[in-house]
Symmetry: C2
Subunit: 130 residues, 2 copies
C-alpha cells in the first residue's frame, strides 16, 4: 500500500478448517482462526495425554474435526468422533487424551489458558492464523 | 425414577451432529443442541433464500456441516462448503441462501432472533434437542 492510499478492505471470505490445519504441525498449541465477540474460535492438534485442569469461570466447547478425542472427567470419559461435540461445564476438572493424532475446534472466551487453573510448562501462547 | 430416589446424573456423553440433524426436517428453524456459558450452539437446515437482516449487537458464527451456504453481504457473497466457517460481524447486513439443502451449526449469544432487526413471520421459536 502506498502512503496516502486508503486501505481497501479485503473481500470477506470463508475460513477452511482443513487449510488452516495444514499450516502447522505442533501438538497441544491452539491457534486462533476467528473472533466471535469476546470469544475465540481456535483449532488444535492433539496426540497423547494433556494434564488435568479446570476452568473455574467458563464452559469450554470441543468439536472434533478428525481423529478421536477422549475427554477424561473424574466421573468417566466422553469420547468424541468427527462431527461430535461436547461442552465441558465450568468448574469441571478434565484431561483431554487422543490416542491417535486428532484435530479439534475449541470455542471459549478470549484469554482462557489451555491449562486452566493448573498452569505450568504446557501453557500455550496463542498464535493467530489469518 | 421412584419418588424419594435421589436423581442420578446421566453420564456425560457427546453430541453427534448427524444424529441431532436426523431428528427434524423443518427448514430455517434453528434447534439448540448445547449451551456454552450464555451462548447457544444451534443447528439448522436451510434451503432457498432467507431475508436480509442485521444483528446490531452481536457477531454470528456459521459453520457448514453439509451442503453449500452462501452468505450474501452488501459487499459480495461468502460461500461456505462443509468444513468451512465464517463470522458475520455485528452490524453487517446479511442474507443466507442455500441452493441445495444445507445443514449448518450456528453459535451466538442466547436470545438472538434468527431474523435480527428485521423480525416478521420468519422469526423462529427456538426448540431444544436433548
Amino acid at each position: 500500500m502506498t502512503l496516502g492510499t486508503p486501505a481497501v478492505p479485503a473481500a470477506a471470505s470463508s475460513i477452511n478448517l482443513a487449510e488452516r490445519l495444514s499450516r502447522f504441525s505442533e501438538l497441544w498449541m491452539p491457534k486462533k482462526i476467528a473472533d466471535l465477540n469476546d470469544y475465540e474460535v481456535k483449532i488444535t492438534k492433539l496426540k497423547g495425554e494433556f494434564i488435568w485442569h479446570t476452568h473455574e469461570d467458563t464452559d469450554e466447547l470441543f468439536i472434533v474435526i478428525s481423529g478421536l478425542l477422549t475427554i477424561q472427567l473424574r466421573d468417566g470419559d466422553v469420547t468424541l468422533a468427527p462431527g461430535e461435540l461436547y461442552v465441558v461445564p465450568r468448574g469441571v476438572e478434565h484431561c483431554p487424551r487422543a490416542d491417535e493424532e486428532t484435530a479439534i475446534l475449541l470455542l471459549e472466551p478470549a484469554g482462557v489458558a489451555n491449562t486452566g487453573d493448573a498452569g505450568g510448562e504446557r501453557t500455550a501462547v496463542l498464535e493467530t492464523l489469518r
